[in-house]
Symmetry: C2
Subunit: 149 residues, 2 copies
């Protein structure tokens, strides 16, 4: 079993894609994060859902949580309107989350070692300088590794 | 909309529960991590799937990824047998991942601010010193916050 056999399609967004659409994708597909690809289709980074929240919630509220209480529901509903017209690139944190990438011919053990070492719940599969082939989650890998019940 | 309205059941494991069962739950339910509860049912921490891999993969392989290539599929299949007889407690990293906890009457804005600040894809819902009521994911929250398409 190699990375190319385990890789599955996983919602990826273009680094210049629409920020609001990316947020919708996270919400609708119930994902903790999205893989971000660059202009050439290469895996670039991860957009964690919590990062979208960091973008839309004013800094002073993140710093002093008691201020959050003051917002009523109508104001909260307007928060995400700050995403309108923005690109995914603008949402990404300055210190980019590192997305582990493995070769399509990586073995299960290699994939597991990369995930373990980088504390990552996902790895992207791609040839060197090639486009994203797919994504492997830690759940996929555990399914392969666990003895049959 | 308050935390108690948004909270949903989410697979939680007991800190003294079976490690192999926890790994199976991650694999079967396709989760990136599990909420761990203590003896009194209180939210305690999170068990990330990558942490299970860190437990089963020898340290020298995590440190030198080229060694992973040497493992054949049979050996890889045996990796997870190290989970047998272990408890969830033994899998947790020494530096425990912090699980944000919010009150059942926390507002959407408060929940979002906590997630944003702690870079967390989930928050646990519980009364002070009370048992786990449920879990809210970042996807749940974005669904509530995003303007209807």
């Amino acid at each position: 079993m190699l990375a190319e056999d385990l890789a599955r399609e996983f919602p990826a967004v273009d680094i210049d894609g629409d920020a609001m659409e990316a947020a919708r994708l996270l919400a609708e597909q119930r994902l903790p994060g999205l893989v971000v690809i660059d202009e050439s289709g290469r895996p670039y980074s991860v957009l964690p859902g919590s990062q979208v929240l960091r973008f839309v919630i004013p800094n002073y509220v993140q710093e002093d949580l008691s201020l959050a209480r003051v917002y009523d529901e109508k104001q909260a509903d307007k928060l995400c309107s700050t995403l309108a017209g923005k690109r995914v690139r603008e949402l990404l944190p300055r210190k980019l989350p590192e997305l582990p990438v493995v070769d399509p011919d990586a073995t299960v053990m290699e994939i597991a070692a990369v995930m373990a070492r980088m504390h990552s719940p996902v790895v992207a599969v791609a040839q060197k300088k090639g486009p994203l082939v797919g994504v492997i989650t830690v759940a996929d890998l555990l399914q392969t590794l666990l003895p049959q019940a």
